[in-house]
């Protein structure tokens, strides 16, 4: 991340001082509430982030002033809606540094983006004996679509292992690449452990083996500057609601020549060139993959969320979250019987943990009674839980508005937990 900059210059641009942090927090109306008689300490940001007033207002303004269907009407409102919709596409392009805005397809979220690739690209390109390589760190959304594709096509899903710290075993991954490997699909950041995968390195290995790479960046876009050209990946997916935008909207990046060669996966309005009863021809990407009236308000909200994150400064946010993660790690180690699950050297966004003798769901309930919101469970990564020999973990995850007080509240509640469950 530091690149060529000197350390001093880095510090100068990257600090989020306490006043700026307080100002950012004030942008999020939902944070200002009591839960079970305590001020809310929201540490479930890997599940979804809250929305700043700027995003909420952008969505409201769209409905109050511009609401209309896109790409068809000749009237003023339709024109405005279309301009706002396409302007957001440009924002997404710049956000992940794609070369061309036609490489950005709007989807319902990361899950739909992966399913789009598995269906449209996979259906046209995979056959008996072809291989898809995923990793033990994957979310169900980056496992199941490939299994479904394998079932349809006769392809095989292979799984690259991790070490006990939760880091991808690159050599083992390289060994699993074969001339039959057509796709490597992996997350950039593990939603459960927070491990950052060496994506650029994986892309290099995969390309050398003749395979494409799809990156699930759902947990990366909130915490890291993501650059698809630098990564050199072929597809990349992320969700709006994890980067301070609305639910139900996300984006797929696909390299132009790959999208151009892919058949559509859903038919309907907007994705066609010409329709007749004897047959239809399809529009060019991205329209080819956006059948039906899109989630225009969601797209507008996503655009506003990207503006918000960029004005907060992604590098500044990343540094703040990194410091908070370190602080949380130190404090979590003060709790007797607590073990942090996932100790990768490169982590961002979250700490998973278990407490001896207490099931994660009981941790979740006890913390909630103190107004501390965390996630407990398998985090939609059941195969990873099995690999780690666990049924579930508790997970505290951070956002740009998280602060030390949230972490201290977590620790205080965990001390109460050990008091409640401790004797015996």
């Amino acid at each position: 991340m530091a690149g060529q900059k000197t350390e001093e210059a880095e510090v100068a641009v990257s600090r989020l001082d306490s006043q700026s942090l307080a100002d950012l927090r004030a942008d999020f109306p939902v944070l200002d509430q009591q839960v079970n008689g305590h001020p809310l300490a929201y540490l479930d940001n890997a599940a979804t982030t809250h929305k700043p007033r700027q995003v909420i207002e952008a969505v409201a303004n769209y409905y109050e002033r511009d609401n209309s269907n896109v790409h068809r009407g000749v009237h003023e409102l339709s024109q405005r809606a279309t301009v706002a919709f396409e302007a957001a596409r440009e924002k997404v392009r710049a956000f992940i540094n794609a070369a061309n805005k036609n490489e950005i397809v709007f989807t319902r979220g990361t899950t739909e983006a992966i399913n789009l690739v598995a269906n449209a690209w996979g259906g046209a390109n995979l056959g008996e004996g072809d291989e898809i390589l995923i990793t033990e760190l994957e979310h169900h959304s980056n496992i199941v679509p490939w299994q479904m594709l394998a079932q349809r096509s006769g392809a095989v899903v292979k799984v690259a292992p991790i070490n006990d710290a939760g880091e991808l075993e690159l050599e083992a991954l390289a060994d699993l690449l074969s001339p039959r490997t057509r796709m490597v699909a992996l997350n950039y950041v593990s939603n459960t452990l927070g491990s950052i995968n060496p994506v650029a390195e994986v892309v290099r290995l995969a390309h050398d083996a003749g395979a494409l790479v799809l990156v699930d960046a759902a947990q990366a876009t909130p915490h890291l500057a993501v650059d698809v050209q630098e990564l050199d990946c072929d597809f990349l997916a992320f969700s709006g609601h994890k980067v301070y935008g609305p639910t139900g909207i996300g984006a797929l990046f696909g390299r132009a020549e790959l999208l151009e060669a892919m058949p559509p996966w859903q038919g309907g309005g907007d994705m066609i060139e010409q329709v007749s009863f004897s047959g239809s021809t399809y529009a060019h990407p991205p329209a080819r993959f956006e059948a039906g009236t899109p989630n225009v308000a969601g797209v507008v909200g996503l655009g506003a969320a990207i503006d918000y994150l960029e004005s907060a400064g992604i590098e500044r946010v990343a540094t703040h979250e990194h410091e908070l993660l370190d602080y949380a790690e130190g404090r979590l180690r003060e709790i007797p019987g607590l073990s942090i699950v996932g100790t990768a050297a490169e982590k961002t966004g979250a700490h998973s943990f278990v407490v001896e003798g207490v099931h994660p769901h009981d941790i979740g309930t006890v913390l909630d009674s103190y107004g501390v919101a965390i996630r407990a469970g398998h985090h939609c990564t059941q195969p990873l839980m099995e690999r780690l020999g666990l049924v579930a973990t508790a997970r505290a995850s951070f956002a740009l508005y998280s602060n030390r007080d949230d972490v201290d509240r977590l620790i205080d509640a965990l001390l109460k937990l050990t008091e409640l469950f401790g004797d015996g």
Partner: protein, 149 residues
């Protein structure tokens, strides 16, 4: 802390930590698996039923304090009861957990009354009912998995 102690009563914590009748049974006449897909809690229940009477119960599995203690206390409560009594007791436990009143509730729940606090936590009711749904499946002779969803 007081609200929490309403939920996590000493009996629940005790049975969560040291479940009774925990382990496998070689000569079970009925058995079933229970699974909560939302949280991954699992229970495997063994019954020995003779002449319409539940003579022995054992269980294995992994779960939170609520689901483990519920299974443990259920096995204690049902030993020596008839199949019909077991089903009636489930109806009462279910009514208690969902805040419904049945005629003649008082005095019939015994130790199981410690779960009353769970009704304040709708997300945790399924933890407390998992073992009972599994019991229902085992008694029905089904070999499928009882699911809370």
């Amino acid at each position: 802390m007081d609200d929490l102690r309403q939920l996590y009563q000493e009996t629940i914590l005790d049975h969560g930590r040291r479940p009774r009748n925990f382990g496998a049974m070689d000569d079970a006449t009925h058995q079933a698996d229970g699974y909560n897909p939302l949280c991954g809690d699992k229970v495997h229940l063994y019954l020995k039923v003779n002449d319409g009477v539940v003579e022995e119960l054992k269980f294995e599995g992994q779960g939170c304090a609520i689901s483990t203690s519920s299974a443990s206390l259920m096995t204690e409560a049902l030993k020596g009861r008839s199949v019909q009594e077991a089903r009636d007791l489930f109806a009462r436990v279910h009514a208690m957990l969902t805040g419904k009143q049945l005629d003649d509730m008082a005095g019939k729940l015994g130790k199981l009354a410690v779960f009353e606090g769970v009704k304040q936590y709708p997300l945790r009711v399924k933890c407390a009912t998992l073992a009972w749904h599994t019991l229902e499946n085992a008694l029905a002779g089904g070999c499928g998995v009882a699911k809370t969803e």
